[in-house]
């Protein structure tokens, strides 16, 4: 007979420990244990069979890996926790005795590490352990940034101390400064929850969510102790990440912080970035004196950057060097490789985006003014991150503006979110008078300036090109704000793309045969496409800063398009005969194509049927269900496309008439 084994002595029971066992083993309190687990990245686990592991009957016991807990015993933070516990005991003893003064002294001494020689702890080593490389840290930055931006926008309460909020907002602003100076912001999206941002930092896409200002309610059912623990950890992490990012740009970290400006709500304006050269000697010493020595390679690179900056300053302003550098980069990069689909019907591969300077300096050479009803913080970040050097705003929105004078002649664009603003009719007469006074009357415009709603900035940024401002003029109904994070599916309807690019072959053929006019219409369509291009260009010209009322603009547009139409008609008249000759051929070719397509689809269907026969019943059901939903989806897309086709055609007809 084999030896009888006792329960809980071997196997799964040895691999797991319950939370209470872990606490007893580590000799710390439950809140401390929670903290430690969050910082060290030890998560609750689930054994395959709870019954084999636990001795108790409760199903809600939390388990941890025994090895994890064993490893926690080596954690230096544990000693700090125990010290803290000892201090608590001393204080409570003194309080119990009634020696309040003693208790206060004990507490004060513990909080004054330079006097007592007992430093409070930092989480540096934990961060190094959790994120062995910088890329690891970047991958986890989504969570970190969302949390810190959220806490930076919270009102301070007893559970969220003001100090923590200050620290969070400062770190976030430093990070935003990096985004601005490195131009690494790629996309942004105004959602109902908050504002999403995406940045590409060292090739890693980082996505985070920033709440709208003054919106956060503090709710009761969220455990602030746990959230606070996460925030403490993430604050340390973002500090180190910021340091690394700043030094990679050749900037000094931390940037100079102006307390007075910050108190006046300057936010980004409260910081001044400094190159490493300015305080080079000091900083060098500091780095040497610390135990961690910089990597010689990185140091060499930084030196190189510094030298470049020095040269640039000697030559000219910073702008020229930046442009030169960008140009050099482009030259060096040459043309980017294009990844093509190897097999037909394969996945669409993500193409490497050209990090062209044009996209990154979308708003260069422009001056913006934000009216007082617009959200300043996100607009400031976006505009500056896409090349705008001069952003002014109403004095109500805080300090640090390029200008607070609404009538500044250098302003080219103004962002407003009011119902409608009237054009100043007697602009030429009033202009001088107005310039003496600071404010404009309500709903008056300054001539020679583009007025847009805030969404224009977001849509321009996401498209990578400046959108036509007349679509976003104040008072007009805006085009829908689409999410830039949705990747278009093969065959799905995409409103931003032209119809030709996205319709499948069969649909195209059908569409062609549906309209009675035949080729004429097609021809017109082609021409119209060209016409619309022209319009686009004009729109851009308008953006470039010419001053004209919108009516005038439209008139001009009308003139241009009329000219085009004239040309069209002439061409039609001239080529009418030729076209009619080739008509039969064309219809025949179309017929052939349709036949071929039908044959192909029939064959595919047959193949599918044969394949389906081999499946088990369960799988076949699943397959059919999937097919059904897909068909439904594609039918929807088809409907949408048909609608658009109809609209476009109507537009054409109107244009012709």
């Amino acid at each position: 007979m084999p030896r009888i084994k006792k329960k809980g002595q071997a196997g799964a029971a040895k691999n797991y420990v319950t939370r209470n066992q872990a606490i007893r083993k580590l000799q710390i309190s439950l809140p401390d244990f929670r903290k430690l687990c969050i910082w060290k990245g030890i998560y609750p686990r689930e054994p395959r069979s709870k019954k084999k592991v636990s001795k108790s009957a409760t199903s809600s016991t939390t388990f941890y890996y025994a090895k994890d807990i064993q490893y926690l015993l080596h954690e230096p933070l544990l000693q700090k926790f125990r010290d803290q516990k000892a201090l608590e005991k001393k204080i409570s003893k003194a309080l119990g005795r009634g020696d309040v003064g003693d208790a206060a002294r004990l507490e004060k001494n513990a909080a004054r590490p330079e006097k007592t020689g007992k430093p409070r702890y930092t989480l540096d080593h934990v961060i190094k352990e959790r994120y062995p490389t910088f890329i690891d840290a970047l991958r986890d930055l989504d969570d970190c940034l969302s949390m810190l931006f959220l806490f930076a926008n919270l009102p301070s309460t007893s559970s969220v101390p003001a100090k923590m909020i200050d620290r969070c907002s400062r770190l976030c602003l430093e990070f935003q400064h990096y985004l601005i100076s490195s131009r690494s912001l790629t996309k942004s999206f105004l959602s109902i929850k908050g504002i999403y941002y995406q940045a590409n930092i060292k090739g890693v896409d980082v996505l985070w969510l920033v709440p709208y200002k003054f919106n956060q309610r503090v709710v009761g059912d969220v455990d602030f102790r746990i959230m606070g623990t996460f925030v403490e950890f993430y604050m340390t992490l973002l500090g180190f990440v910021n340091f690394k990012l700043y030094t990679s740009l050749g900037l000094k970290y931390p940037p100079k912080f102006d307390q007075v400006m910050d108190e006046n709500a300057a936010e980004l304006g409260a910081f001044t970035l400094e190159g490493l050269t300015i305080a080079g000697t000091e900083n060098g010493k500091q780095i040497e004196s610390s135990t961690h020595k910089p990597d010689p390679k990185v140091q060499a690179e930084v030196d190189k950057v510094l030298k470049q900056i020095g040269n640039g300053e000697a030559n000219d302003g910073e702008d020229t060097t930046a442009q030169d550098e960008a140009a050099e980069e482009e030259k060096a990069a040459g043309e980017l490789d294009k990844f093509e689909v190897a097999a037909k019907g394969g996945d669409v591969l993500p193409q490497p985006e050209a990090s062209d300077s044009s996209k990154r300096s979308l708003f260069a050479n422009t001056t913006f003014f934000l009216s007082r009803e617009t959200p300043r913080q996100p607009l400031e970040l976006l505009l500056k991150a896409f090349g705008c050097k001069r952003v002014g705003w109403d004095a109500v929105l805080g300090d640090g503006a390029y200008t607070t004078n609404e009538l500044d002649p250098s302003i080219t664009h103004q962002i407003v979110d009011r119902p409608s603003t009237q054009a100043a009719a007697e602009a030429s007469e009033d202009a001088e008078d107005n310039q003496t006074s600071q404010k404009l009357a309500a709903n008056r415009r300054v001539p020679g300036r583009v007025y847009v709603q805030p969404q224009w900035v977001w849509d321009s940024v996401n498209d990578g090109e400046v959108r036509e401002p007349h679509l976003y003029a104040p008072g007009t109904s805006l085009p829908p704000h689409l999410s830039p994070f949705v990747k278009s599916v093969n065959g799905a309807y995409d409103p931003t793309m032209p119809l030709e690019g996205q319709e499948p072959e069969l649909e195209k053929l059908q569409a062609g045969s549906d309209d009675e006019e035949g080729e004429e219409d097609e021809l017109a369509e082609d021409m119209d496409v060209a016409g619309s291009d022209d319009e686009d260009e004009e729109g851009e010209d308008a953006f470039g800063g010419f001053s004209a009322d919108e009516d005038e603009e439209e008139e001009e547009d009308g003139d241009a398009s009329e000219d085009d139409r004239q040309a069209e008609l002439e061409a039609e008249l001239a080529g009418g005969a030729v076209n009619s000759k080739s008509g039969d051929k064309k219809t025949k070719a179309k017929e052939d194509a349709r036949k071929a397509l039908a044959k192909k689809s029939r064959e595919e269907a047959e193949d599918l049927e044969r394949a389906k026969g081999m499946l088990s019943k369960k799988k076949r059901k699943l397959f059919e269900q999937m097919q059904y939903t897909n068909n439904k989806k594609s039918a929807e897309d088809e409907k949408l496309r048909a609608k658009r086709r109809k609209l476009e055609k109507e537009k054409q007809r109107k244009a012709k008439a």
Binding site: P44, Y65, K128, D142, N242, L608
Partner: protein, 438 residues
């Protein structure tokens, strides 16, 4: 005579009547220092009386008197009268001048008058309550907030050059267990870890495209309707159950009442009825197998085994013959699987992973408490605005972040405790009624 006498003899200072030098009495604190103290006292007295005698010059102490004084007999009365001791004591003055008690203004001030307060080391009530909280373990952040001053990821690990001393063993560092690297337990049904920040779809836009918004609105309303229907169904079921319970209880009561009505049971053993008496058939006990039987069984088993083997061999041979067919079949299956995958990708919208959408949670919850419900983040059609200024943000980001942590399995759900657990009180009546006497 010297004030402090050095050790007169060469031996160590002794205690009072030291019987042995082993016990506590031999300790230093018990060493007899009366001599020293006496000496110090003497010294003080001498100083008060006008200086240490030993330090004085002999001229001050002594005079050589060579001639007699003739006036003495005249000055001193015949019978010298002795004064009172008290007078003598009072008359004795110290040679050391007294410390002056006059108040002087301090030389430098900051110009601010000191606040008059009885006690300066007092602790305010606010501070006290904070201290009490600290004693309870509710101290605010103990992590020191510092600006990063070095590059964490550039610091190279120090190469150990400890080959110098082989005598000492190298310090052993704890190895990180592999289990630390495992991803946390996701609460999603498919077991995948959710993205920390999910990509928003077009329906979440503040100014959405109509099709996106409509799709989302339809989905959310379907969900809401389903939830409401479920709630109503639950209510109905509960009602039906309660009714049935009431009915059965009533029936049982009625039956009991009827049973009570009948005077005795109908089928009693008294009347010759007995239950279960007939079907007690005697069971046959298993007998021991004979060797013959055993052999027969063995033979049969062997035969069966052989037959099985033969069948398997035959099947294998057949299969070998149609290898080509099988290969084709396998390839077809592969193709089919690929097709399925493609369809699935199409159905899921190819890259919908990481987008905000329907989360299917797993059935089993982690820990004691349920995962909180997701907020409904939807602007109703009549509230939909196309101006950013008029936008009313939806949802609560704090709750959203917290829930995301829970879903990703970073922490387990906790319940909010608004109040501390109070001690249970029991209400009793005072027993004074027992004292009541008529």
């Amino acid at each position: 005579m010297p004030v402090i006498q050095g050790p007169t003899s060469g031996d160590a200072p002794q205690t009072f009547n030291q019987p042995s030098r082993k016990g506590k009495k031999a300790w230093r604190k018990n060493v007899d220092v009366t001599e020293v103290q006496q000496g110090l006292q003497d010294l003080n007295e001498e100083i008060i009386q006008g200086g240490v005698i030993r330090e004085k010059d002999s001229k001050d102490l002594f005079t050589l008197d060579t001639t007699r004084d003739t006036t003495i007999s005249k000055r001193l009365p015949k019978h010298l009268k002795k004064g009172l001791k008290a007078d003598e004591i009072i008359a004795a003055r110290s040679a050391v001048p007294a410390v002056s008690l006059r108040k002087r203004p301090s030389k430098t001030t900051d110009g601010i008058l000191p606040v008059k307060r009885q006690r300066t080391d007092w602790v305010s009530q606010k501070e006290l309550s904070r201290l009490k909280r600290v004693a309870d373990g509710q101290h605010d952040n103990t992590v020191e907030v510092r600006d990063a001053t070095y590059d964490l990821w550039d610091a190279e690990p120090k190469k150990s050059e400890v080959q110098i001393d082989e005598f000492f063993p190298e310090p052993v560092h704890a190895k990180t267990p592999k289990s630390m690297k495992q991803a946390p337990l996701s609460l999603l049904a498919n077991g995948k870890t959710e993205a920390a920040v999910q990509r928003p779809t077009g329906g979440y836009s503040y100014n959405p495209a109509f099709s996106d918004y409509e799709k989302r609105l339809a989905a959310e309303s379907a969900k809401a309707i389903e939830a409401e229907e479920k709630r109503l169904a639950d209510l109905e079921a509960a009602r039906v159950r309660a009714e049935a319970a009431a009915r059965s209880a009533a029936e049982a009561e009625a039956a009991e009442a009827r049973a009570n009505m009948s005077e005795w049971e109908e089928d009693s053993e008294w009347e010759g009825f007995q239950s279960g008496a007939e079907d007690g058939r005697p069971t046959k006990l298993p007998q021991r197998k004979t060797p013959q039987q055993r052999n027969r069984m063995k033979r049969r088993k062997e035969e069966e085994r052989l037959q099985k083997h033969k069948a398997a061999m035959k099947a294998r041979r057949v299969q070998e013959q149609k290898i080509a067919e099988l290969a084709q079949e396998v390839s077809e299956k592969e193709q089919l699987r690929a097709l399925m995958r493609q369809q699935r990708a199409l159905a899921a919208g190819s890259d919908s992973e990481g987008e905000i959408g329907e989360q299917k949670l797993r059935r089993k919850q982690l820990g004691k408490y349920k995962l909180p419900e997701k907020d409904l983040e939807l602007v109703l059609p009549d509230e939909l605005q196309d101006s950013l200024r008029l936008l009313k943000p939806e949802g609560n980001m704090m709750r959203d972040r917290y829930r995301s942590m829970l879903v990703r399995g970073k922490v387990e759900a906790r319940r909010h405790l608004p109040f501390k657990k109070q001690a249970k009180r029991k209400v009793t009546e005072k027993w004074t009624h027992k004292d009541f006497v008529i």
